[in-house]
């Protein structure tokens, strides 16, 4: 077990290294000069060259990557110039470990920005996760139990509609009617728990989390329904019935246990994916999470920020994968890791 975890973490680290290399290479193969953005519109060629040097873009890509990798562990300075640090320390931006780079467009370290945006995305992802899991499983089980009835058709039909509509449409629709016109919910706004308490935090989150959960819920309703129906056809359910178990026990202990196990994998990976930011939802509700940050960084060709976000996202997915696999070994006795 421990050996398995160590092996998996080792492969995870290799994957992260490769990911960072690929992101670096992709960026450099693009026809855009990042120093143009950092320097501004009216920039003389001399100033441009100076900016390029200050940002470290004059060095070969391999050197840049090595410096980046080293910075993650020991931190680094921008520009990395000991002489300048002696003469004019105010022009040096320090980036302590774990340094994921320094963004000139926003004049702050990438680590700082991700740290700021991360709790917002996390709040959104976890709230939405609970909403869609509860809704998806409840409606999925109801649909399965009432298979073929009007209730089943209604639930399946509705989930198809929500699945098909784009998030920005649902989001803007709910925003306009629920928040602005009818004032049923508060205008979405992120307030950290430390500032406003759980209640205010949740109220501000309600609408974006609900929007986000609707899309996922639609998929989970259909999957839950399919898995429950599948398990009901299994031989062991017939055994459970022929033992004389009450229908409720047959459903909860035997059918649900088998039906919900495969959902764990999907739920874990979906949650991990969302922790990296819900791009469209955050954009619609103007939520300053990782998703919005990623969009802004891409628009501004902010290489360090893009690389940083991509790596954090990748790390989350890799860890989530490992957690899901370990969890699976716990809930399914037939699975043995190692």
């Amino acid at each position: 077990m421990t050996a398995y975890i160590i092996r998996r973490m080792f492969t995870g680290i290799i994957m992260l290294i490769v990911m960072s290399m690929v992101t670096f290479l992709l960026f450099f193969s693009s026809p855009v000069n990042p120093e143009d953005f950092a320097c501004g519109k009216n920039c003389s060629p001399a100033l441009k060259a100076q900016t390029k040097k200050a940002l470290g873009y004059d060095e070969p890509v391999t050197t840049q990557w090595v410096k980046f990798a080293k910075g993650v562990f020991v931190g680094r300075d921008f520009p990395d110039d000991p002489a300048l640090k002696e003469s004019a320390p105010e022009t040096i931006a320090e980036c302590p470990a774990p340094c994921l780079g320094y963004s000139r467009t926003t004049n702050s370290t990438v680590t700082e920005q991700i740290k700021e945006a991360w709790p917002i995305s996390l709040s959104l992802a976890i709230t939405a996760f609970f909403m869609w899991m509860i809704g998806g499983i409840v409606f999925g089980v109801i649909a399965a139990l009432r298979r073929g009835s009007i209730i089943d058709r209604g639930i399946v039909g509705a989930s198809l509609v929500f699945y098909a509509f784009p998030t920005f449409f649902i989001g803007l629709f709910l925003y306009k009617f629920l928040a602005i016109k009818w004032e049923i919910v508060k205008i979405p706004e992120y307030v950290p728990i430390s500032e406003g308490g759980v209640s205010v935090w949740f109220q501000g989150l309600l609408l974006p989390a609900f929007t986000l959960s609707l899309v996922y819920m639609a998929g989970y309703v259909r999957m839950t329904r399919a898995f429950v129906l599948e398990s009901m056809g299994e031989d062991y359910l017939r055994t459970a019935k022929s033992k004389g178990l009450a229908p409720r026990k047959v459903l909860y202990k035997h059918s649900m246990r088998a039906a919900l196990t495969p959902l764990v994998t999907m739920a874990g990976l979906d949650l991990a994916g969302l922790m990296g930011g819900a791009i469209i939802t955050e954009q619609v509700f103007n939520y300053p999470g990782l998703g919005k940050l990623a969009v802004t960084a891409t628009r501004n060709f902010d290489l360090p920020l893009v690389v940083g976000i991509v790596l954090v996202l990748a790390a989350v997915v890799i860890v989530a994968n490992l957690v899901v696999d370990l969890l699976y070994a716990v809930i399914d006795p037939r699975v043995r890791v190692g």
């Binding site: 062991y236 055994t239 022929s242 033992k243 399914d332 037939r334």
Partner: protein, 380 residues
């Protein structure tokens, strides 16, 4: 309960499934009686309605679209008239079932012990500890080594034979009067088959349970059954005492089943004669005798009787116990002159010697049970 009444009495049982294309008559008028301590074997090809009929006894068609009618009287109660809750209380307690594939019949996420305990806890007001003790006791009784340790194993950690033993333990834990075994040995390898059959017989003697054993293996029937019911297209086509049916079959379908049994000890040149064609659709069963499209003897019946008229299940020439559903006037003569010489030439003489007057002989034309008996002797 009077001592005369049988434990289980099924009368005119019908299980019909309405579908979009019409009604599928999976079981269409089945009647039989079974006494405590006796074994009824139900034989037939896949799709002849064996399993559907036995599921009806457990009330497993409740809550589905199936229409079940007739009478299923167990311990003087008609199971078709009682409520779902009353039926549920009888499942596992008065009538238990074991299934064909013991791997898929056990829940993969729960331990064997947990699943056996569950069967006990649902019908008995006892603590979990007591239920576990009882489960270990039953596992020991069905021959699981180190039952106090294996009780915590998951089904996938058991071998096929052990799983079936565990299923039997689960079925018998409440000491039910009736045990239905739906192809209990089909998914197991031959040596294990014999052990399981042996175990079932042992336990039957111990608990005095009635057993319905469903199978397509006539070797199993020869080994286990007191009575045999041959099913075809949802109906009984031949019904009577086991030895009688196996030695003096009167229905061409039963001949077909006997001809398809390989004889492992006999002449390797002996022919296996398959029954031509496939079981009929139960949606549109053939007119007249359901077996007539596959029957090679229908020309021996005058006129088009086989095609136009369904024969009744009536006693033949061999007494009231042996009934069959066939128009043939003298099936015995056809069997001994045409069928038996083909499948077991050595037995013809034996029969001729023993039976100049046509009385029941002792010879047994089914040989696959010999292999089973041999394996049994080698059993540890």
């Amino acid at each position: 309960m009077t001592s005369q009444a049988p434990l289980l009495s099924v009368k005119d049982l019908k299980v019909h499934f309405p579908t979009q294309d019409g009604i599928v008559k999976a079981t269409d008028g089945l009647s039989f009686d079974l006494e405590s301590g006796k074994t009824l074997g139900i034989v037939g090809e896949s799709g002849s309605g064996k399993s559907v009929s036995s599921s009806a006894i457990l009330g497993l068609h409740r809550g589905t679209s199936a229409k079940v009618s007739g009478e299923i009287v167990l311990n003087d109660t008609d199971l078709l008239t009682i409520s779902d809750e009353q039926m549920r209380r009888r499942r596992g307690k008065n009538v238990a079932m074991i299934f064909q594939d013991p791997l898929s019949a056990m829940h993969p996420y729960y331990t064997v012990g947990n699943q056996i305990m569950e069967a006990y806890l649902v019908h008995n007001k006892v603590s979990k500890r007591e239920a576990k003790t009882r489960a270990i006791e039953m596992l020991d009784r069905v021959g699981i080594p180190q039952p106090d340790r294996r009780v915590n194993d998951y089904p996938h950690q058991f071998s096929g034979g052990m799983r079936q033993r565990a299923m039997i333990a689960m079925g018998l834990i409440n000491n039910p009067g009736l045990l239905i075994a739906d192809e209990p040995t089909t998914a197991l390898d031959v040596t294990v088959q014999a052990q399981i059959l042996d175990l079932l017989q042992d336990l039957q003697r111990e608990f005095n349970a009635a057993i319905i054993i469903i199978t397509h293996d006539l070797g199993v029937i020869a080994e286990m059954a007191d009575d045999v019911l041959v099913m075809y297209a949802g109906r009984a086509v031949e019904y009577g005492p086991c030895k009688e049916i196996l030695t003096h079959p009167e229905m061409p379908y039963t001949w077909g089943l006997l001809s398809s049994v390989p004889d492992v000890t006999g002449d390797t040149d002996a022919r296996l004669i398959p029954i031509p064609g496939l079981p009929p659709s139960l949606l549109n069963p053939p007119s007249g005798c359901a077996f007539h499209p596959r029957c090679t003897h229908k020309d021996k019946v005058k006129g088009n009787l086989c095609k136009t008229e369904m024969p009744e299940l009536l006693p033949g020439n061999r007494g009231p116990e042996h009934t069959k559903r066939c128009h043939l006037a003298d099936p015995e003569q056809i069997y001994f002159t045409e069928i038996l010489p083909e499948i077991a030439p050595d037995l013809v003489e034996e029969f001729a010697e023993v039976n100049p007057d046509g009385s029941v002989g002792d010879a047994e034309p089914v040989r696959s049970s010999d292999a089973a008996a041999e394996a049994e002797e080698k059993k540890i």
